[in-house]
Symmetry: D3
Subunit: 246 residues, 6 copies
């Protein structure tokens, strides 16, 4: 049940049964020579729709641009500054909270969003308090990172070992291959991939990680793996959502 | 060619041939008892992809939440405040401009975005000037409203006369029916629909337009009409894009 | 009745009879070789005072600096960034709304203000809602562009044809000549004036429009024309104000 | 020489001889039962024009709304929040600095502006530094408060003793009477006027100073006094301007 | 009684007896060749603790970074921009006001903070009003500059005459020597110290005041003087606090 | 070596040998019935000074107020909103970066700061890039949480088992007892302490954790433990700093 495919009256009805909503958040950033720029948004949205279906929850429109400043030395990357993402999330949640939503379950596809998103939650609780919204103290936000699901993590380890890496990983590439089989890319991948550098600014990042990958070998990804990851993530996050809304 | 389905190296190659990009912008807001909340984003994205295909242009990720504060008294509507949308657009365009993009062609699905988007363009030109980006004086932004295309407007008039109205219109509903035939909604529509009130704040809007429609009869929409609108808009905006990038 | 020339007790009395106020907004920007930098503010203020007199309305202090970033490559131009103008308008209206004003009728002299001003209205409605001001849902803002009055437009067409142009127009110059006959300027004007370029950033604007005019021949202006424009605008905007406050 | 009455080419010429400009700043706020709401702007503007004439300096458009939050419990008062006034001043000065102006001489009519204006100067120096404007280290801002001119202060003391008070003073009322003899107001004034309370928030202010005056007896003002104050202020500030631009 | 050394339950108890709190504010900025970078914070904190002890008042954590943009051309100086300091103070006071504090007595060690701090007070009164906090109209803020205490000023004059200067003064250096006898610094001091230049931006400041001192001879300072200044300031500010909280 | 106890010339000299600086960041927030409100700042500062001594590094002034919005329903807690903390950190680091510092090692005492601080780092890298500061791509920021040091964690486990909890922990209380033996507090502690609730807004937090502790038994703390934690943290963070600055 996508919010975008509902009418407002369907939302009104939904709110009589539930005050929870799922919000996919991804990013628009380089994912190495073969990874799609939309990888993080694609994975988050795909999995969120699966969770929404399984749990009968409304899925809000995907936040497809996130906090990816460190990737912006690669063409095609788009990032918000943290303060922008915070006010964006605040406005987004305030609109929903005024309508009666109280529980916001973010399904996140990008590690770089986590810090700013948590900051945004704190800011939003405070903002809703200052608006004197009824029952605003019931507002709850949660980030669920699909790539950190226990079973997902295990499978990635099993399939790829330390070639999973930490950016442009075969697991996330696999999910995009499952979601968009017609957009599977190939390119020569230097087997000697960079790894282990901490992340600072954009130019520094590109110096450290010249082709954008962080220790990963995305050539190992297959659409079949993608489906497995998808199913595991949907399963685990559906449970997690269920606990969250109680 | 969707930016989300490209690799960064494909974008790098694209930039050797073109410095232009198409950006769909919609909104997440009530569209009357039968219109989808995502109508404006769905239409903008669908048409933008058509234009991108026809003109070999990259299409950036859809801005699916816009300036819809006046709709926020209806559940399911989500809006940014204008200052938020301005910094959002500024960050978004700055990322692309740093990579070498210079021409930003927005395909817009929501009248309520126009003012703020124009303000954002002014702010962005000034911001890029202050960054001393090379050739920043070549940066150009343009809003193309698909619903204001000459042929689209004519067809809407022919098909619906004054039942086209100005919000939750049969023409936009038709395009969503074409895009998502499985999400066609029906509901009783009061034939005595409100019309002619100026737009002020959210509560005032809902008082004036109790079911969300502004003078429209979306029951007239069909997916076939939607396809016609789609084709006319793609045709006209492709030309418009062609002129813009010269 | 200028707010600046009232006491607070006179305002208190006024508020027992009316909750409406007229706010002139102009700009401080180049107007070609012979146009005054204050043209837009001068016209807006002059006409607003005329409307105020005719309708017994209070006229607030003129916003004499507006959104003119695209003119700032010409010396003497002063502009706010859109986000600044938005918070400026928000603060300005919030002060008045707290005192009981509910209807804000802007008389505008500068096309470049329109987008940002509309964005500011949306932001202000939302802000007043968040303040829980009593009856804030009755707050209404309206922009009336004197230069778009039907009769004004007709007269400009009759007097100047396509030499009216769209910036540093003879009609606006004429109104300033009527308002400040001692400040009528002359300078050689290239008959081959630029026209038809879309507006982007400041440097681009000056490249396209080297002397600041956009397709206009301000040498046609006379103070007598100015008076005619003034009278037509006052007439039409007084009616418009009357309808607005009902 | 008012900036508003110049053409951009006249400004260009002026900049070959001087990089200094005078900026009047006032406020829009209650001035007791007989003082005009525009008192501070009227005085600042009137005196600034006198100084401009005497020193051949350009006078920029008056900032007619300032920092007057503590007066906003009286109807008709309009105030910016300090952060708004700071970005307003920053944008205003940045436009002028880009054109080549380097010395900004503010003639101020409102004590409540001083703190925020000084803060704005600091912020602007830093901002212009971050823009890498050529010779930005030569940018200088100065506030000259006409009401603190030595001779003005002496005359007020001589004429009014301690009935001068500190808000809605006979001296500032006198200057407005000189400037707008047709707008001289009378009203019963309680001889037992409040005095000596520190200034906190708006409601507190109105509790302490119920009719808006702070220890003053504006009934002593005459237009003739106003002219004397005007002349003394113009004399002293012209000298002060002369020293500033060296 | 330092807030940092209390438990929240001790604060709760305190609030049953008093709604006042002392807040030391200093700066982190160069103080000439022998003055400590923390001078302003050290003095403010030391004296605030003395006042707190004498008056049984809670002392909040020191704001150790202030508005010192003009000192930032000297290494080690740290400054907030005015808009940052304003929101910092607003957040800080809002937290305390929500808990029941109403009277905020700032003990300030840096002249450069005064303007921005006063602006922050105005902004905070307005903000608390917009939050509808109970009895927010009782919120009062006051700046007490220890270096402007009457007796302090007299003693500095007696001890140092015009070698007191106005930055990196022997009096403030003496207080730091008293507070941190182990951190007394010596360095050659040019007897021909700069004086009398107005303060503009950072580069200009360093050009005018090459070693950071403004007309002062800090070599005259002794820890014994420091103790005297400390005691005079504590005495006078304790009285001042007593009057403030009545 | 505390920045506050240096002269600017000592900093200048330091910069010829090192471009790194240690910045303690804590919080001002309730720490249960016996924990000091300044706990997080006290621990961070104490340990930072130890690390500074051991590594010959300059220690900047402590950020003693952090992101603690969820604690603000307890009196005495003070918090910045995340957007405020971000601009605060940005301004703070920008000042230091302009002087030549490039490596910023934060020693953090509060888990609630981590997200916002990481967001602030991203924003600052981007900001310094936009300033075109020389070698800005060498700017590096790192958060080191003393309470997450391996040995610290082990010792806490050994000494307290699961009575360590996650807020108002005996380990942090112990460090404050070591730092301020005269400020050791006792109070009855309910043995049935709350635990396991996720953190949302301030009112919700206080409902879940009525006395402020999260699963901890701070009565187990002793000053001797505090010294042990202190020494382990200094040891480990000194190494960590050494690796960071290479």
């Amino acid at each position: 049940m996508e919010l975008h495919l509902c009418t407002w009256q369907e939302v009104e009805t939904y709110l009589t049964k539930s005050d929870a909503i799922i919000i996919p958040i991804g990013s628009t950033e380089q994912h190495g020579p073969t990874g799609l720029i939309g990888t993080d948004a694609i994975c988050a949205e795909k999995i969120a729709l699966g969770v929404g279906e399984k749990t009968d929850a409304i899925v809000a429109p995907t936040m497809n641009v996130g906090m990816a400043l460190h990737h912006t030395a690669f063409p095609g990357s788009i990032s918000l500054r943290p303060t922008t993402l915070i006010v964006y999330v605040q406005d987004y949640l305030t609109s929903l909270a005024k309508a009666g939503f109280r529980k916001f379950f973010f399904i996140n596809g990008h590690g770089g969003n986590i810090a700013t998103l948590k900051a945004a939650f704190s800011q939003t609780y405070d903002h809703l308090d200052s608006l004197n919204l009824p029952n605003h103290e019931q507002v709850k936000c949660k980030i669920a990172n699909w790539f950190m699901c226990r079973e997902v993590y295990q499978l990635a380890k099993t399939l790829y070992g330390n070639q999973e890496g930490s950016h442009a990983t075969p697991s996330e590439v696999a999910v995009t291959q499952f979601a968009y089989p017609s957009a599977i890319k190939t390119a020569p991948l230097n087997p000697d991939v960079s790894t282990g550098h901490p992340i600072y600014g954009a130019k520094n990042f590109r110096n450290c990680y010249p082709d954008g990958r962080m220790g990963s070998n995305p050539a190992l990804a297959t659409p079949e793996h993608g489906q497995q990851f998808y199913e595991l993530a949907v399963e685990e996050l559906s449970e997690s959502y269920g606990e969250f809304i109680q």
